[in-house]
Symmetry: C2
Subunit: 183 residues, 2 copies
DNA sequence: GTCTATACGATGATAGAC
DNA sequence: GTCTATCATCGTATAGAC
């Protein structure tokens, strides 16, 4: 009975969600190790013990946070997946770093934190993008589609990191520059 | 008496160096927060107390590690600084991510860890590179030297990260591809 | 300079009542 | 499901002897 299992998994009490949300925010802002469970409890306005009832231990809570992020990430990728025209896909890909709203910075901060801090395997998130980029260049029949994709991916990742870290003074100019170069 | 002050600072006992080396390795491999001082002491084959005699506290030890890294980083940058021909400077810059030897991966891992994990300001390390790249494109009189430099920087940073994380199967092919594109 | 012993606070986790 | 109380352990840091 897969369906009912999934259904059960989706049911969350209000407090359970508060914990998840608080943990997400704090892990992103201060890091996993730097965040005591007591601080999460306070932010979520629940008792500390409740965290362990729901998520077994601190790492279980992190897993739950990451699972939730995966879903958001898939949603983020939908536009490029739905588009069929390779030129248009490319345009969407280049827009990605610039589409990250300030409210979503925490999401990406956490992703990069985990990547380095916890040696968490974030490839299930990065691989789909790399695959999309490769498909683009295969369709465009360029000389070295895989290398082309790798380079674009690295560049977009580097740009995204700079944006999240608020190191780019004029985002719009950079976006236009990239569009002119690639599309 | 600046000179004698500096001279004093450079004197280190053998055990002090062992501590610094062990801390560097562990911070890079497992992260600053994840590394207990006892573990550092054991790796350095000294007593735990000695760490605090020499470095006051754990954060002081981190500072000492970062200071030492700064020196290594400057050495790394020397080739591009010494070169005058912009085309040649560009070639050197593109080589950078590929010049990182496996033994030096820890160095860069720690740099990125600190960047995200501790919100450590690593700009004193990244800014000089960005400046060099900007100078290159100013000398080459391209249309948008600052944007051009920013994009190259992001790309090289992204590539370097992939290399450190051992995600690139064929480094040589990627290097040749980049050289062909940029130089 | 170096070691041993130890204090002390913080933190993850459990037990039991409601 | 939720809270309060509590524990055990770990980790930073200090004191004092050699």
């Amino acid at each position: 009975m897969q369906i009912s299992y999934l259904a059960v998994r989706l049911v969350m009490t209000a407090k359970q969600e508060q914990i998840l949300q608080a943990a997400f925010e704090l892990f992103a802002m201060e890091g996993y190790r730097n965040t005591p469970t007591l601080k999460i409890a306070k932010r979520a306005k629940v008792s500390e013990g409740l965290i362990f009832k729901h998520y077994k231990n601190k790492h279980g809570l992190l897993t739950a946070v990451v699972d939730q992020m995966s879903v958001k990430f898939d949603e983020f990728l939908q536009p490029i997946k739905k588009e069929n025209n390779p030129k248009e896909k490319l345009r969407i890909a280049i827009h990605f770093p610039f589409l990250i709203k300030e409210e979503a910075f925490n999401f990406w901060k956490l992703l990069y934190r985990l990547k380095w801090e916890e040696a968490y395997d974030t490839s299930r998130m990065s691989r789909p993008i790399l695959e999309e980029l490769t498909n683009i260049f295969l369709a465009l029949e360029v000389e070295s589609p895989h290398l082309e994709a790798r380079v674009l991916y690295s560049m977009l990742e580097g740009v995204a990191m700079s944006i999240i870290r608020k190191e780019i003074p004029n985002k719009e100019a950079l976006l236009q520059f990239l569009l002119k170069r690639y599309v």
